[in-house]
């Protein structure tokens, strides 16, 4: 999309700190606009983990802590779109108690719009904008995710994996996947039975590796363990992961391009009726790329 006069005004105003226009700018980015903004080094953390582990509530704790200490905290909270209706129910905001409370907190809910990996390539553009607008702590909450969902590595420097007490036996912690990438692991709901055993199982599994990440047992509900966790987050030196990051960024950009291809629906229609093969469909899409 070309930068028009209106977009330029919105960018200028957002960079000057006008919240209303930052919000408009994010909407433009969501619809494919790529603003030209000054790049700065950002502070980013991805929060991921299965549905219901307490990711949003925990982010609410972080928001309270950081904003009360003078940080400007921005949260991009992603929830799934319906594969049937295309609609979405974005409920993360309601779990973050102080989401709407002050000038040092900005929360934006985003729907996946059925993007593979649950995160669209424009997340990185949004992070650049938020950073340029003065938000010095940026937290990305993923959709409730599983063992092999690590697209978040494309976008954030730190990865926090949140789990609950009801995670099954130790073999679950032995499996490969996101658990190997997390810089810090959190077992939330420490007030519930089984949470200590869950933390112990994760700890003992990871202790076999070279540099095991810290495992924190916390309760976002009453704040137990939160300060210690935040201390570790602030002092954590994230693993570089540069090759993985580059790979995930490329796949994400590739996915976005495929989903935005104007021929996509037509080709899907042809596949549905069986009039072309999968191989032909891929060729059709590839040849429609300029």
């Amino acid at each position: 999309m070309e930068m028009g006069v209106k977009e330029q005004d919105i960018i200028r105003s957002a960079l000057q700190g006008r919240r209303r226009d930052l919000s408009r700018l994010l909407t433009l980015i969501e619809s494919g606009f790529e603003p030209n903004i000054p790049l700065q080094e950002s502070w980013t953390m991805g929060v991921t983990g299965p549905p219901g582990a307490g990711k949003s509530s925990l982010i609410g704790n972080f928001v309270d802590y950081w904003s009360s200490r003078g940080d400007k905290v921005a949260v991009l909270a992603v929830d799934p779109s319906s594969p049937k209706s295309g609609g979405a129910l974005l409920g993360d905001r309601m779990r973050m108690v102080s989401a709407d409370s002050g000038d040092s907190v900005f929360v934006r809910s985003l729907a996946t719009r059925n993007h593979p990996g649950g995160l669209s390539a424009y997340i990185s553009t949004m992070i650049d904008c938020l950073t340029a607008c003065g938000w010095n702590k940026i937290v990305i909450e993923t959709v409730g995710s599983g063992q092999s969902d690590y697209r978040i590595a494309a976008f954030t420097d730190r990865i926090l994996l949140v789990d609950g007490p009801d995670r099954g036996d130790i073999v679950q912690a032995e499996k490969a996947g996101i658990i190997e990438l997390a810089d810090i692991i959190v077992v939330n709901k420490s007030d519930l039975e089984g949470s200590e055993q869950a933390a112990e199982a994760i700890n003992s599994s990871l202790s076999m590796g070279p540099s095991p990440p810290p495992v924190h047992l916390v309760c976002s509900h009453d704040g137990a363990g939160i300060e210690e966790l935040i201390h570790d987050i602030e002092n954590c030196i994230p693993e570089a992961r540069s090759a993985l990051r580059a790979r995930e960024r490329l796949i994400s950009a590739w996915d976005s391009r495929l989903l935005n291809n104007p021929e996509l629906n037509r080709v899907v229609g042809l596949l549905e009726t069986g009039s072309i093969t999968l191989e032909d469909a891929i060729k059709e899409i590839a040849s429609s790329e300029v």
């Binding site: 209303r20 919000s23 408009r24 295309g86 609609g87 129910l89 905001r93 309601m94 709407d100 809910s109």
Partner: protein
């Protein structure tokens, strides 16, 4: 459309708001639900951060004639006059004209079908596309009846 469903004031339950949020999701909208007991300022702040096209306010407590005007005025003041505001819950017929005069485009009472609310949003969407004034701060006589 991106729609916020909000619960201003001190209502103790939100069954209705959740049913609406779910129905709008199934109608293809991206719905942000705020949760219970929000102040007008918090609702306006959420509407701004989310850059929502529409705001649905559910009130059961009888405080609609204080809370809804406060929200509408603040939206206009904060440069969100193009937001479409609709309301639902327990709002007596005698109070409705005053709310419509503030720019509230629809008021849905008990017994409203969820498909009617979707019809309203579809109508809003097509009016927005053709450039007609439907926002809370835009001058228009149009209301859903």
């Amino acid at each position: 459309m991106k729609v916020i469903v909000a619960k201003p004031g001190l209502d103790g339950h939100d069954r209705g708001a959740k049913v609406i949020a779910r129905a709008l999701r199934d109608g293809g909208h991206e719905v942000v639900y705020t949760g219970l007991r929000k102040t007008p300022n918090e609702i306006v702040r959420a509407t701004m951060d989310e850059d929502a096209a529409a705001l649905g306010l559910s009130t059961l407590s009888g405080a609609h004639d204080v809370l809804i005007p406060a929200i509408c005025e603040e939206l206009i003041k904060e440069d969100m006059g193009r937001t479409v505001v609709f309301a639902g819950g327990i709002i007596p017929a005698s109070d409705r004209d005053a709310l419509h005069a503030l720019g509230v485009r629809a008021i849905f009472g008990p017994g409203t079908s969820t498909s009617e609310i979707l019809d309203f949003l579809n109508e809003v969407s097509s009016r927005k596309k053709s450039g007609e004034a439907v926002g809370v701060g835009e001058s228009s006589e149009w209301r859903w009846e």
